[in-house]
């Protein structure tokens, strides 16, 4: 018979480490999807996921069961991703010379027809990733959660541990930082 989440957690807390495995199996896809928003290399994504699960095991005593386990785990995942971004702030000031031909084409099409259809979505996706990589960790986190994942300010405050006014301030700064980066990118290409 399949055991409930609460039973599994109680068993882990009682010392049965094997009961943690079904939880890892069930929620790893969400952890990996979130980690892939912030890290590109597979090894980095795996490191983040591994750290999330080890932290979850170590801090399981602090899970009081008031909110679903998934919410508690996602908070831990987002915070681990934020720590990862802060620890890997590299190449943010580099030029956009590494933009591929496909991404360059997409930009040219956009310049020619800004309202045009979403052709070459893969190129646009890679371009977004490159732009996001240039953002500060706070800006990247807030743009991803607010604009890409469509969370509310309150949800972001809960996920990140920041206050709601701080999320709003960071969202405002993040948008202007992103526009600056886009401006620099297009200047480098077209001036």
């Amino acid at each position: 018979m399949e055991r409930s989440e609460a039973e599994l957690i109680a068993a882990v807390l009682a010392g049965d480490a094997a009961s943690f495995e079904p939880l890892v199996q069930k929620y790893s896809p969400r952890v990996f999807a979130t980690a892939r928003r912030y890290a590109r290399r597979d090894s980095e994504v795996e490191d983040i996921a591994q750290e999330v699960w080890l932290k979850a095991f170590d801090k399981l005593k602090s899970f009081r069961g008031e909110a679903p386990f998934e919410h508690w785990l996602m908070r831990m995942t987002v915070r681990t991703c934020y720590d990862f971004l802060r620890a890997h702030q590299r190449n943010r000031e580099s030029a956009f010379s590494e933009i591929s031909d496909a991404e360059d084409d997409w930009l040219e099409r956009f310049v020619a027809a800004p309202e045009g259809g979403g052709d070459h979505a893969e190129a646009a996706k890679l371009l977004v990733e490159k732009v996001l990589e240039k953002l500060s960790p706070e800006a990247r986190m807030v743009i991803t959660l607010l604009e890409i994942e469509d969370h509310t300010v309150k949800e972001i405050a809960e996920l990140t541990g920041w206050s709601a006014p701080l999320v709003k301030v960071r969202a405002f700064r993040a948008r202007s930082e992103m526009r600056k980066i886009l401006g620099r990118m297009t200047k480098e290409k077209y001036l």
């Binding site: 896809p29 990996f32 979403g118 992103m178 886009l182 401006g183």
Partner: protein, 102 residues
Amino acid sequence: MNLPELHHKLIRTARLRPPDDRVPYAFEKRITALIRDRVAERNRHSWVQGLWRAAISCVAIAFMCGVWMFFAADRPGSNSDDFSQNFENTLLASVDQSDTTP
């Protein structure tokens, strides 16, 4: 260049393509193995810590006994030979008893 439009278009593209949620093969087994290692390590650590505490307590008790014996021997009117003999007799009482028993 219409930057706000470019911003919206890029964000729209990112929204349309959610990241892959693929999990590497046997990832949960790897995590469980790591957790088992951690638990074993933690148990080992708590044993080592306990033994160290016990060792420190033993050293402290031995030191206090030494100090006590030293000052007891210096006290006027005390008989250090008697004291040490009594101490030894007390400690080895069970051994002495077993030696004398046929």
